[in-house]
Symmetry: C2
Subunit: 194 residues, 2 copies
DNA sequence: TAAAAAAGAATGAACGTTCATTTTCTGTAA
DNA sequence: TTACAGAAAATGAACGTTCATTCTTTTTTA
């Protein structure tokens, strides 16, 4: 157990160092030697845990994406109404993006650059299924406008990425009041008007 | 005149090569030698037009941002009503992002990574002033919800970036009908309900 | 004590940038 | 118009550095 435990710690340290350094400098401007140093490990040791640099960043992406979606759906269950379900998920996502802003920044960078393999990108998308299911249900019930998943995501969820990046760059404070406004805007853009 | 003309052509070729290669591979994975080759120019020649690689990408960013905002505001004038003004600007932006999808991809990458100098980023933001003015007017007239510029941008404009990237990755087709839907979603999220 | 894990130094390739040289342009004098 | 000199623009090769990865040796584990 001690040995395994130690390995998991090192792996986590490598993943966390990758996130922090890539956020600051970008993927290709982050040398393996720097990641190793921040994780208190020899550069050679990275290759015991990951195949190469690309594998390291792919795995980091999937790990962050998993913790993101796990957090997002933790308090949702399928017996909720569409509106309630959406609100619960949306607010968990917002909470995650504010609390785990380094993760949010990292995901934004992965989603907007060619730094991740297409295969890992596809796998990351699959994690969102429960949200897509809420939307499908909402459209069937006539509560949500009949739009494609991409369009719904663009207006209901993606703006949060922009807001957290703006907040991270010091241009905006997202307090509770602003967040409630943001939720209202999100819901307004996808709901069917009564 | 011949000499000057030639120079502008080369400069444009370098900027265009930068956009295409950075879109495909990312900033740091794009060597100067490759940019030079695509622009049919010697690597050394790049340094006659730009100080260094960072300067090249900063200037490229500002050039793209300028053509983006010039296009966005070309048909808008201040005598329009808030709703009409917003609609005109929004639709021009959408048109630009669909027609000039390479530019749109490039801007998305600049806005979500540390690849651009902070100074150039700030200058790029200033170009959006006319849009912020419409919003200010809309809030004063009670037509637009009193939200910060960042929030308004997040819900009304930024979703278009997500949609064009999705379209570019082959995951979505943004036809006229979808676009009208998207505009409705954008307007719904920021307007004051009657 | 044997195997696994980790380390640091070494390697070779790739990169941004510069240098020495050649080519092209421009204005002037015949 | 032609010839040409000086300046400007452009080039390909070269330089020094940095980086991802591997190799050999040492340390830790069981």
């Amino acid at each position: 157990m001690a040995a395994l435990q130690k390995s998991i710690d090192k792996r986590n340290a490598l993943i966390n160092a990758t996130i922090e350094l890539v956020n600051n400098d970008g993927f290709h401007a982050t040398p393996m030697s720097k990641i190793a140093k921040m994780a208190c490990v020899s550069p050679a040791t990275i290759y015991l845990y990951f195949e190469n640099k690309q594998d390291l960043v792919n795995k980091t992406y999937l790990e962050v994406k998993s913790s993101y979606t796990a957090y997002a759906f933790a308090t949702y269950d399928e017996t909720m109404s569409v509106k309630e379900g959406f609100e619960v998920i949306w607010k968990r996502i917002a909470e995650f993006k504010l609390k785990e802003d380094a993760y949010a920044m990292f995901l934004a960078q992965c989603d907007n650059t060619p730094m991740i393999d297409e295969e890992s990108r596809q796998e990351g998308i699959r994690h969102l299924q429960p949200l897509l299911d809420v939307w499908k249900r909402g459209i069937k019930e006539g509560v949500i406008k009949p739009m494609s998943d991409y369009m719904l995501y663009a207006y209901a969820i993606n703006p949060l990425s922009f807001l957290t990046i703006a907040q991270n760059r010091g241009a905006l404070v997202l307090d509770d009041k602003q967040l409630e406004q943001a939720f209202e805007a999100a819901w307004s853009s996808i709901k069917v008007c009564e």
